[in-house]
Amino acid sequence: MSGHRRDVVVTGIGLVSCAGEGIAAHLDALNADAPARIDTTSFAPYPVHPVAPLVLDGQIPKKSDQRQMEPWQRLGVYAAGLALESAGVKDDAAFKSALHLVVAAGGGERDTAVDGAILTGLRDAPDPGAYLNEHLLNDLRPTLFLAQLSNLLAGNIAIVHGVTGASRTFMGEEAAGTDALRIAQARIAASQLDAMLVGGSYSAERPDVMVVHEMGGYLAKGEYRPIAERARAGEGGMILGSVAAFLVLEAADHAAARGARALAQIFPVASDRTRREPGSVALSLDRIWREAGIATPDAVISGASGVAAATTEELDALSRLAPGAPVTTLGDVTGHGLEVTAPFGAALAVALIAERGAREVAVTTVGHHRGEGALRLTAIP
């Protein structure tokens, strides 16, 4: 097992964000000055990049399935469908029933109205414990739980698309996405599997996540400003975006045998976990850049969160590591999507290679709080 390694290629990608859906919309978005949708009022003072309207029926035909899911799951199931379509396996039941899945995800939406009503009632409740029990029992929708469990994005992809090899869900913010790709690539390279669907989804249009990230002081406020500009002004922070990205990874020989077009090759992913202090991100990037084997990329996609210290260090490091290569900050295209950063960045790299003739693209994923990653994708030789 530890000897021969198979080449791993990407044969399909599915993307959804404020820029729209699919490959072309996102390649166009790379040339824009700002994300296609910026909403500074719905969740003020926090700006968000809302997802473009989707016709869900296109990928989630049953209304009953749509109803059983919350937005983060619908985005993910939708993007997974696009990836399967792009890989030419959407209608290949046998392929999908053997296809394994690794999802990077957090948790699902709260019922904010129920939460608010309970919190209001708790103020004057003579017996708060009993009040809470009574109202959770009566007011929570029983099926909401299934829209909140992290592994139920994978569960819904199995139900809606018939991807039933087996699934695993990685959690842990940006690092989850990086490691999902790392382990998927490694399992295929080592012949433990032939193909995997890898990705994740994130819904930013929910006030509960802003409570969480505001607690750490990690959110940007007010008007949209580009990531580099706000980080260098010392007023950094994340602007969250609703995003989903999935990739079909396959052993090169497996893809060739079924006549699939390999869009790009993906190399072993380098990931790291440093204790954040001045200089640690730069040091880590130096190391994982080398470890990922990145040579002379035609383009760099940075998953920088916008959090000032880490972002400035990352951008400085990139100008040193890839002098002359244009650096696209993913957050300025789609907003920041936490777990989805690495899959989205990798999928955009694939698009640049397959549609724009790039030979080598590097993707960096420096988490807002922890976790660093570097990915190398190249054109098929």
Binding site: M1, S2, Q68, G106, G107, R110, T112, G116, L119, T120, L122, D127, G129, A130, N133, E134, L136, L137, L140, P142, F145, L146, Q148, L149, S150, N151, L152, A154, G155, N156, A158, I159, H161, T164, G165, A166, S167, R168, T169, F170, M171, G172, A176, I183, A186, R187, A190, Q192, P207, D208, M210, V211, V212, E214, M215, G216, R273, H369, G371, G373
Partner: protein
């Protein structure tokens, strides 16, 4: 064991277990747990952690002898994981303190803000009028709750365990619902087989018995409501089973490339011979009626282990005590093992410790390894009313017999099915 081969039947590195640790409602550590489990003692009790007025289910296997501050699921889960991993690392005598020579794979419960914290935020600024999330956002922006932030994100438990034990690389936090603990082990096995590392720390932990998580399962009619007596509620495979009982705990296993383990003179406690998994796209909470995915997962584990069904000595069941699970698990086992299934002892640890959810697969792996080591199968307590639809050899009282191969099943919401094969000796 010194003459056993170092590669499995497929030529891959053999994966040895050189240390493990366990915490359940029955106690802390292998000795206390093994004594209690083989004595048929129950750790299920009336919940004291929070008020249970008005709840249909008021019992659980909470771990009350370990504490955390704040008392929230990730902090408790971290505490349990630390205890189990301390024991495992000490038993394996591996690395040096705070310098574990391998990666961390840890199954943790999904993270959410809990009600005491949500309520404190709602009241922090003394705002009047209806509480909305905007109120909570303003409370967060007051910076008074920053210390809670680590407990609100998903990577923290793994981050802290990685710091404490000095594991290498980016730690994996994972969920496959109620099969998560088994998946953590599977990820470790795969990494060792790939030759990426010679050791892995694999943990499943769960400290999530709180009002909302209990009520959520209750709303899905998944929990037993037979509150009195608490120790009688979890009745896997019994005709009168009426749901599972939530439990808490953790288990940690040190997996090593058998060759590396032997080279450093480690005592090998057993082997993870095979892992199998299969997704189910039938329904969000229910198994395919034909049992095909369960059957495929068991078969895949046996195939991966290079073990024939005839070599399995006992089954450590998922056995949740829900009507659905136990019926489907029995059906799956009967399909794979055929007529012989009637004579294969099968037992569910959940009868005593409840369903430890994210931790269950890892805890039951440790019990499987102890079963092999002691030649003793812990009972399925409360098996008083056999279910004619489940004609299996349910181990109702502790049974002594030589055990060299155990199949351990784990199944979860979202179509998750993961099965592991453990052995005292390689295939």
């Amino acid at each position: 064991m010194t003459n056993s081969p170092l590669r499995d039947s497929k030529g891959r590195p053999l994966v040895a277990v050189t240390g493990f640790g366990i915490v359940t409602s029955l106690g802390q550590g292998q000795d206390d747990n093994w004594t209690a489990l083989t004595a048929g003692r129950s750790g299920i009790h009336t919940i004291a952690r929070f008020p249970t007025e008005g709840l249909r289910t008021r019992i659980a296997g909470t771990v009350d002898f370990l504490d955390a501050e704040p008392l929230v699921a990730p902090a408790l889960s971290q505490r349990f994981a630390e205890s189990a991993a301390d024991e495992a690392v000490a038993q394996a005598c591996i690395g040096t303190k705070g310098d574990f020579p391998g990666a961390l794979f840890i199954a943790v419960p999904p993270i959410e803000m809990e009600w005491p914290q949500r309520r404190a935020m709602a009241e922090a600024l003394g705002e009047k009028g209806p509480v909305t999330y905007a109120v909570l956002q303003r409370a967060a922006a007051s910076r008074r709750f920053d210390a809670l932030h680590p407990y609100m994100i998903f990577g923290t438990v793994a981050d802290r365990i990685a710091d404490r034990f000095g594991t290498k690389g980016s730690p994996i936090s994972l969920s496959t619902a109620c099969s998560s603990g088994a998946t953590a082990i599977q990820l470790g096995v795969e990494a060792i087989r790939r030759g990426e590392m010679s050791a892995a720390l694999c943990i499943g932990t769960d400290g999530s018995v709180n009002p909302e998580s209990l009520i959520r399962f209750s709303l899905l009619s998944a929990l037993s409501t037979q509150n009195d007596p608490p120790e009688g509620a979890s009745k896997p495979f019994s005709k009168n089973r009426d749901g599972f009982v939530m439990g808490e705990g953790a288990a940690a296993l040190i997996l090593e490339d058998a060759e590396a383990a032997r080279a450093r003179g480690a005592k090998i406690l057993g082997y993870v011979l095979g892992c199998g998994e299969k997704g189910d796209g039938f329904h969000r909470t229910r198994s395919s009626p034909d049992g095909a995915p369960i059957i495929a997962a068991i078969q895949a584990a046996l195939d991966d282990a290079g073990t024939s069904p005839a070599e399995i000595d006992t089954v450590n069941a998922h056995g949740t005590s829900t009507p659905e699970n136990d019926k489907m698990e029995a059906m799956g086992c009967m399909a794979v093992f055929g007529e012989r299934m009637g004579a294969i002892p099968i037992s569910s640890n959940k009868s005593m410790i409840g369903h430890t959810l994210t931790a269950a697969g890892a805890i039951e792996a440790v019990v499987s390894l102890l079963t092999i080591r002691h030649g003793r199968i812990p009972p399925t307590i409360n098996y008083a009313v056999p279910d004619p639809a489940i004609p299996l050899d349910i181990v109702a009282t502790t049974r002594d017999m030589p055990v060299n191969r155990v199949l351990s099943n784990s199944f979860g919401f979202g179509g998750q099915n993961t099965c592991l094969v453990f052995g005292g000796e390689p295939t």
